[in-house]
Amino acid sequence: MPSRPPDAPPAPHRVDAVLDEFYALRTPSGDPVLDAIATAIFVEDAFGVTLSDAEIDPAHLAGRDAVRHLLTRHLA
């Protein structure tokens, strides 16, 4: 039994909408690394992608624009 069925790539406008949902109620912990991990958990779950360890990092996951950029690569 798969733990996460494969997802079809969402349309770009869906990506924006889903990210808007996330940032509407996100509660940062204050620790940038843990916040990046929390964001990675959301991104992988919501978009069905798997990030590399190097991508699970504040440099790639700090803020909506950074996440949008990362997703553009993964969902291309």
Partner: protein, 662 residues
């Protein structure tokens, strides 16, 4: 809300004295009146808590020609619309009670009537024409219904202690029930802690007639395949969810002929339900809260904040460890199950406060965590899923540090321990990935059992293989949905709604009403995308969005603090009540034969060294398991459940046997 009971027998009509004894044992569930019916082959009993149609509505109650008779525990919140529909079909109602809706509905629609009922119920219906007894229980198990087969017959009741009023029902603990409790925290229906005693599964209907006893589900939990949820827009979903919760709360607040109060825990769930129902009364709403003397457990500041915002007439009870220890034997007698937490005890004290304040109905936030993704266990599962994608990854392993931020010894403060604990059994293809840490840590309690009891547990075939019960198509569900299914099949009916819910409320004659467990709320929530319930690690995402305008931001934004109470610290500090020593003495342990005395004494010695406050989670559960199981044995196996009382008056007696007639 009420208590129901009955006897079916192939022999002479059931003994009225037995029915009255059973009804008397349910008096706490229904102190406002009682009734019984005797017919050839069946007897029905009822203890009434009068809430709707308090002057009429006595039970047992029949349809127009007396061919269908019912005893009913619960509420059908959609009874007004159904009643109008049934009147338009020609039915003449003699009462304004929802009970009569069930009788007429069953008469017209048979089992399909259950699909139309939105409520919380357990009922027994006697069809004189078919000579058929029907038992039914609500979808999620809000109301209890137990039964035992007795030499060709059947006894049933809202509580086990009423079954034990019949001396032909054997009284013994069931090793299989114990095994399940020491895995899942409770038995899983139809199993109970008692050998030979079963409970009707939530969402089931059962029949007893000339063809024998049989049962089947009329409803089952279901979720759409991941990615195929009908609504993907969070804003629209929040609006629709709010509409359903508001309507569910309105129904539960207004469908009553007596005043309805509300619980306020300090969390978002009860804040939502209290805020909604406050809009349906011009008088000040009465709210009730549980506080703790120990700051670690207390949520008083948030309760006060919400009460001030709503302008309620607020009541609270402050509970300390000694209060818990004092009432715990009563708590176990009402719960009728081993308890791995002391948490039911303060709820017993809270419902006592409600009753003393003149109320007999409260609306609470129960069920939101299960239905809308609020439990820490769901966050834990999300972290474990994340980790399974690369178990060797250090950065993924650090996700465990995001869990349980409210704990005094949070994983973030002990990352090595957290990785060891949450990294256990990390298998991506495990359908129970969510629950494996809980089940594994709970099963460690079995190490306290005697060799004989361990052997009997092993022979019993328990614990039930829950994964075999998961629907085959659940492989396509989101992992959160599978976790919800497991939680709503085990802990919700087995512990939350029972030991912490119905039993602690009804012990003091209080009916709880749960808007988040409304049929339409649950159906809508089950069809939501998982990210609208658990958004990353943000729990109850959609609920927070839907009701942000009604709640103080401090409550919307606060990390979830699960309801907890002092466990071993309530029983192992100096000054513990005598019963603790009595039930853990060598004689009592030997009589029960459940726990190894040497290990129990070692555990208690360790606990007493720190007054119970220095124990870890597993040892706390061990102490509670020993105390509650020993009390259960003492009360229900050595004793017979007790609680004998005269049935409440007025008493309605109906005799259809024809005995004594010319």
């Amino acid at each position: 809300m009420c208590g129901i009971c009955g006897v079916a027998t192939p022999g002479p009509p059931p003994d009225a004295a037995l029915l009255l004894r059973m009804v008397g044992r349910l008096r706490h569930r229904g102190p406002d009146g009682s009734g019984y019916l005797r017919d050839q082959g069946v007897g029905l009993g009822h203890a009434r808590l009068a809430i709707i149609d308090t002057t009429g509505g006595a039970q047992p109650l029949s349809n127009e020609d007396g061919s269908l008779w019912i005893v009913f525990n619960g509420e059908i919140f959609t009874c007004v619309g159904l009643g109008n529909e049934l009147r338009s079909r020609g039915h003449a109602f003699r009462t304004a009670s929802d009970t009569e809706v069930i009788v007429h509905g069953w008469g017209d629609w048979g089992e399909q009537a259950l699909d139309r009922f939105n409520g919380q119920w357990a009922f027994a219906l006697w069809d004189r024409t078919r000579r058929q007894l029907v038992l039914s229980r609500d979808r999620l198990g809000v109301r209890p219904l137990y039964y035992a087969h007795t030499g060709g017959g059947l006894v049933f009741a809202s509580e086990v202690k009423a079954l034990f009023a019949d001396p032909s029902v054997p009284r013994a603990l069931d090793p299989a029930g114990l095994d399940e409790t020491l895995t899942y925290w409770s038995t899983v229906a139809p199993r109970t802690p008692f050998a030979g005693v079963r409970q009707l599964e939530p969402g089931y209907v059962a029949y007893l007639d000339a063809d024998g006893f049989r049962s089947h589900p009329y409803w089952s939990m279901d979720f759409p395949p991941r990615g195929e949820e009908p609504g993907q827009d969070a804003r629209a979903n929040a609006v629709a969810l709010r509409e359903r919760i508001v309507e569910a709360s309105r129904l539960r607040f207004t469908r009553s002929d007596v005043p309805v109060g509300a619980y306020l825990s300090g969390g978002i769930d009860s804040s939502v339900t209290a805020a909604v129902v406050a809009g349906y009364t011009e008088a000040p709403l009465d709210t009730f809260s549980l506080r703790f003397a120990d700051d670690e457990f207390d949520e008083g500041d948030y309760q006060q904040l919400m009460a001030r915002r709503l302008g309620t007439r607020h009541h609270d009870v402050v509970v300390g460890p000694q209060d818990i220890a004092e009432v715990f034997p009563d708590v176990v007698r009402h719960a009728e199950a081993p308890l791995l937490r002391a948490a039911p005890a303060p709820l017993f004290l809270l419902s006592r406060l409600v009753r003393a304040s003149g109320y007999k109905v409260v609306v609470t936030g129960e069920g939101a965590d299960e239905v809308l993704g609020g439990y820490d266990l769901y966050r834990e599962a999300r972290v474990r899923e994340f980790w399974t994608r690369d178990p060797s990854s250090d950065v993924r392993g650090r996700a465990a540090e995001l869990l349980y931020p409210w704990m005094a010894r949070a994983p973030g403060q002990a990352p090595a321990f957290a990785r060891g604990f949450f990294g256990l059994h990390l298998a991506a293809d495990d359908p129970a990935l969510s629950h494996r840490p809980r089940w594994t840590s709970t099963a460690a309690l079995k190490g306290l059992l005697t060799a004989d009891m361990r052997a009997r547990c092993a022979e019993s075939g328990a614990p039930l293989d829950l994964l075999a019960r998961l629907p085959a198509h659940s492989a396509g569900w989101d992992p959160l949905a599978r976790a919800q299914w497991l939680e709503m099949t085990t802990l919700l009916p087995g512990y939350i709604l029972s030991s912490q819910g119905d039993r602690m409320l009804m012990a003091n004659s209080i009916e709880g009403r749960f808007p988040f467990l409304d049929r339409d709320v649950v159906a809508y929530a089950d069809a939501l995308p998982a990210r609208h319930k658990l958004s990353g690690l943000e729990e109850k995402y959609l609920l927070k969005r839907a009701f942000a305008d009604l709640l103080p931001p401090e409550i919307v934004r606060r990390p979830k603090q699960p309801y907890r109470a002092p466990d071993a610290a309530s029983f192992c500090a100096p000054g513990a009540p005598d019963w603790v020593g009595d039930v853990t003495g060598a004689d009592a342990l030997a009589a029960a034969g459940v726990f190894e005395p040497r290990l129990v004494q070692g555990l208690l010695t360790k606990a007493r060294r720190s007054g119970g406050s220095g124990l870890g989670n597993t040892d706390n559960m061990r102490v509670l398991a020993v105390l509650s199981t020993q009390l259960l044995h003492h009360q229900f196996v050595v004793g017979d459940g007790g609680g004998d009382a005269a049935p409440a008056t007025p008493l309605t007696a109906i005799d259809l046997t024809g005995e004594g007639q010319p």
